[in-house]
């Protein structure tokens, strides 16, 4: 596997430097650390701070979702590794505008431990912190064990809703409620054709047979829940839809937001082919699509694969989703109710 890299151990910091150079209107380091990052835009006093974060290797996640209408700060770890508490704490202090801070991040052992330690430290400083763990990956645990599920590309929608709520100057409890509601509404399944390779090893993390793919993968190059034979794009979407519909129990007239996400190495052309079938399946169920994102939103280094997320919308979530936002990976001028 060949990559554009210098010393592997510098990869994350170098990528962040490259991001600061590229997106100076959106992000800047907090106190000079490239691993604790704030939105450039001014944040009003009394606004709930939204802090997100996680390991590197998911670019443009998570730093692309920092800005007005999105998160206020992001803590970045090593590749696929949670940021340590000190960095999360730096973000927390920076994001705090007197109204407390909401943490939104994926449900992983490492992240939970590090963010919880940071929350304890912040609490000791008098900053109230609430936490919403994202857990949209429905393949990763059974329906009745939602709390065990991991957070994947659905993150993006949860960040958006939390950011919109905070931009509307809602209080901490309300922001938390809405972020939790957004997470509950998100359903993701990922599939991978080929594993990714870490900067450090530059070898595929695991091997998938010539004719196989992994069904139910996360965004860390992990194997999926099952290994199955590769099928056509349409059949893959069908399998994903069957699983999501079984969980989401959509009814005719329901509305969803869609994210068709590349895990890194899969190009947009293929994502669009997936979206075509997805739309047909949704139409057949009379599910309306409110809006669609297609592209590289939450990647797993160079993994060849894709994920589909459906967020079931009600009026409240729709309104928040339609608010404007401006992160470098999601810039949207907003949509007025029609």
């Amino acid at each position: 596997i060949k990559k554009f890299l210098n010393s592997p151990k510098d990869a994350v910091n170098e990528a962040l430097e490259g991001a600061f150079a590229a997106f100076p209107d959106h992000i800047e380091p907090i106190d000079g650390s490239p691993r604790a990052i704030r939105a450039r835009a001014a944040k009003p006093a009394g606004k709930v701070g939204v802090v997100i974060g996680g390991g590197a290797g998911h670019e443009p996640s998570f730093l692309g979702f920092v800005g007005p209408g999105l998160a206020d700060a992001v803590a970045v770890g090593n590749v696929f590794a949670s940021p340590p508490p000190d960095r999360v704490l730096a973000c927390t202090r920076d994001a705090h505008r007197g109204a407390g801070v909401l943490y939104v991040y994926g449900n992983y052992t490492g992240d939970v431990m590090n963010f919880d330690m940071a929350a304890d430290l912040a609490g000791a400083e008098g900053i109230e912190v609430r936490t919403v763990l994202t857990s949209d990956d429905i393949a990763s645990a059974a329906h009745d064990d939602r709390a065990a599920r991991r957070g994947t590309a659905g993150n993006v929608f949860v960040f958006k809703i939390a950011g919109a709520a905070s931009a509307r100057m809602y209080g901490l409890a309300e922001c938390e409620r809405l972020a939790r509601k957004a997470n509950d509404a998100c359903h993701t399944i990922g599939v991978a054709m080929e594993s990714c390779s870490m900067p450090d090893t530059q070898r595929p993390s695991f091997k998938i047979g010539e004719d196989d793919m992994e069904f139910g993968v996360g965004v860390h190059g992990e194997p999926g829940v099952t290994r199955v034979p590769i099928e056509s794009a349409d059949r893959i979407v069908d399998q994903i839809c069957d699983r999501i519909f079984a969980e989401m129990q959509p009814r005719p007239g329901d509305r969803v937001a869609v994210l068709v996400n590349s895990l890194g190495g899969t190009p947009m052309m293929e994502l669009l082919i997936l979206n075509r079938r997805l739309r047909k399946r949704l139409e057949a169920r009379e599910i309306a699509v409110h809006s669609t994102l297609v592209g590289h939103y939450c990647t797993s280094l160079d993994m060849i694969g894709a994920s589909i997320t459906l967020m079931k919308l009600d009026d409240e979530l729709t309104g928040l989703l339609d608010d404007p936002c401006d992160g470098f990976a999601w810039s949207f001028s907003g949509r007025r109710p029609s």
Binding site: V79, F80, A81, A148, S205
Partner: protein
């Protein structure tokens, strides 16, 4: 007999760092099979950072507890990840034990178990969940037993090392119930736990330091 002092701990960290560096790719490969492939990176970089940091410390003045506390904060800040809080807590529990009074080197098993308690307190894993505690506890208990039977430092070291190696192998038969691998359910069967594998490396470094210092 000599106690577990700063020099001893520093020697352990140096040895462990060297071996983790040597096993960096192998640990990543193990983690690639049932996890996200970064375990070797986190462990090798984390211990290298501890080592760098300890090299800068005024060795004479530092108490062994201070060495462990410094190791905890250095490791945590360097790697974050899952292992950051776990080992940081392990080191802090170890520091607390050593602060309670000097510990004879032969009693190394008590330090190992204290560290295992730290990991368990932070990570909430049970024995059999296919995590690093499935290696730390058996190794610690074996060392305690060897010391209780009046074994020499070399014998305690041997017991520690053997138990760690054996325990590492037992993780192959476990189904992961904690951490990233737990999402694989039965698919985690038949694979070594990467955290157990790195634990065995660290424990071997402890054992060898004990044996060579004796």
């Amino acid at each position: 007999m000599s106690s577990i002092d700063s020099a001893f701990l520093i020697a352990v960290f140096r040895r462990a760092a060297d071996r983790l560096e040597a096993e960096r790719q192998a640990l990543c490969a193990l983690d690639g099979e049932i996890g996200d492939g970064d375990h070797g990176t986190s462990m090798a970089n984390g211990f290298a950072a501890i080592n760098d940091h300890l090299r800068g410390m005024a060795r004479q003045e530092a108490t062994p507890a201070a060495v462990l506390r410094d190791a905890a904060s250095t490791f945590l800040a360097e790697v974050g990840a899952t292992v950051g809080p776990l080992y940081a807590t392990a080191f802090l529990h170890g520091a607390r034990l050593l602060e309670a009074g000097d510990l004879d080197r032969q009693q190394i098993g008590r330090l190992v178990v204290a560290m295992a308690d730290g990991i368990k307190a932070r990570g909430q894993a049970e024995l059999g969940d296919k995590t690093m505690i499935d290696v730390w506890y058996p190794a610690g208990h074996a060392a305690i037993a060897a010391a209780a039977e009046g074994g020499s430092p070399a014998e305690v070291a041997r017991a520690l090392r053997m138990a760690a190696e054996q325990a590492r192998e037992t993780t192959v038969t476990m189904i992961a119930a904690r951490g990233r691998a737990s999402r694989l359910k039965e698919r985690s069967l038949g694979h070594l736990d990467p955290g157990g594998a790195s634990a065995a490396i660290i424990l071997a470094a402890i054992a060898d330091t004990l044996a060579s210092a004796a």
